[in-house]
């Protein structure tokens, strides 16, 4: 298998997996799921670190550091805000009170 085809294979399989794992999500979870997926693409931070750490020019270094800051905001902020949302969901998942049982 040639290298581009290997990459294409990974891509196509990832598309299939990406759709399959969220296929049965309930609508109450749409917002946190979107937010969590948003945090995951913050891993571009990894790419930003690699290109910044291997550059020689000062301009590229500055651009790279800006990219690192932006990507870190995406990643750290994304996971924290998702957790905040999900905490609120958890709190409301207590058993229903006697008022409900009395209906």
């Amino acid at each position: 298998m040639s290298e581009p085809v290997a990459w294409l294979t990974i891509f196509v399989l990832s598309v299939a997996v990406g759709i399959e794992v969220i296929a049965k999500v309930s609508s109450t979870l749409h917002t946190p799921l979107m937010s969590g997926a948003n945090a995951i693409h913050g891993v571009i931070l990894l790419g930003a670190v690699i290109v910044t750490g291997t550059t020689e020019s000062t301009l590229a270094l500055v651009v790279g550091l800006v990219a690192i800051v932006l990507a870190a905001v995406n990643m750290a902020g994304g996971f924290v805000v998702t957790d905040r949302m999900l905490r609120m969901f958890g709190r409301r998942r207590r058993p229903r009170s006697e008022q409900e049982a009395g209906r």
Partner: protein, 457 residues
Amino acid sequence: MTPTWAQLVYLACAVGFILALKGLAGPRTARAGNLIGAGAAVVAVAMPFLYLDLDHVPLILAAIAVGSLVGVLGAQRVQMTQMPQMVALFNGVGGGAAALVALMELEHMGAATPGFDLAATGFTVAVGAVSFAGSAITFAKLQELMTSRPVVFPGLPVLFGLALVAAVVLAVLVVRDPSVPLGVALALVGLLLGVLLVLPVGGADVPIVISLLNAFTGLTVAAGGYVLGNVVLLVAGTLVGASGTFLTLLMARAMGRSVTSILFGALRGGSTLGAGVASDRPVRSGGPEDVAIALGYAERVIVVPGYGLAVAQAQHTLREIVDLLAERGVRVDYAIHPVAGRMPGHMNVLLAEAQVPYEQLVEMGDINPEFRHTDVVLVVGANDVVNPAARTTPSAPIYGMPILDVDQARQVVFLKRSMRPGFAGIDNELLFDPRTTLLFGDAKESLAKLLAALKAL
């Protein structure tokens, strides 16, 4: 070349992201899924420090610290009502970062670089810029830094078309003769495209656009991963791109909308928020005192909160009214439509924040049989989710969308800003029903007046 052990760790991180998404899709596993994703991301980011001989390490670490601090503080301080724009902001900076990374890669590329690598780089630059600018506009709309109504000006479709052509031409030029100035030009056109793409979208549909831009950013990260030869970026980006696209379609379907009509509806003069014309058919409008009497002497009341309530930030006043009614012995519940607030699950979060007890929030399937025994239904800032046209009019854009059966109640009170149709842009027959009373005005002001009138009863 990446050492084998590092490649295996990257593979483990990629599996971690799959498990994270899988977890996020289930109510019991969602929090664990998010934590797995965060763990995988941290490990992945630590990797290059371990196997690469990086320069500028102190500066890089400082930049990571600054970005993380800003992100975490923002995420902790943001009000829950402002959460959608926070997600938009995080998504936008991610797209911007991907575009910048691709621009830096372009510097090392030349005639010897394979065409597909260059195409992927051009794609990342352009789409990353679209995502950055588009997210900035969605942020401005949701934060009310600008009007949340569709912004359409003559020539917008032409300008959009020209920018699209320019982007394609520039991308082809980048592939044929890679240079950083060309890449910068491509990024600028991408920014313009992002602005033009989101301007015509109404505020109510913006969450769907955030989801779409989120998928865009995922794909740019995937393309960036291909260019850098990094598996974890490719897998993570592709996962987000695929699941984000699918989620966008799911959200649109839950709202009875199609993605194309959301993006281009306003351009066609079609059916986005504000595009509809106010009807001049006669309706019965009442004052706060009339409504207070109807509510105060009812036995059973159901409140239907909607996007208008969230926009007016009136959920606290609403809770006070419901508490007052409960003190008077009225049985009150909130009926929660799955897409109430136009952000699926958003209304539950908003009302939980206003300290509405969980027991009072009743989902559509459980509350629908109750409406026929209900004296008064109070609809606050909702329209399409109670529009009987979804059941009765096959030609309506929302036909087939599950709705709350408010029309079966003995009396219905609508709190509305104006007679403008809902987001779907169609008349609601229920507004003209003899059992319906309308209370016009800003939801927060109307509710405050209603509260005062109730206290005076």
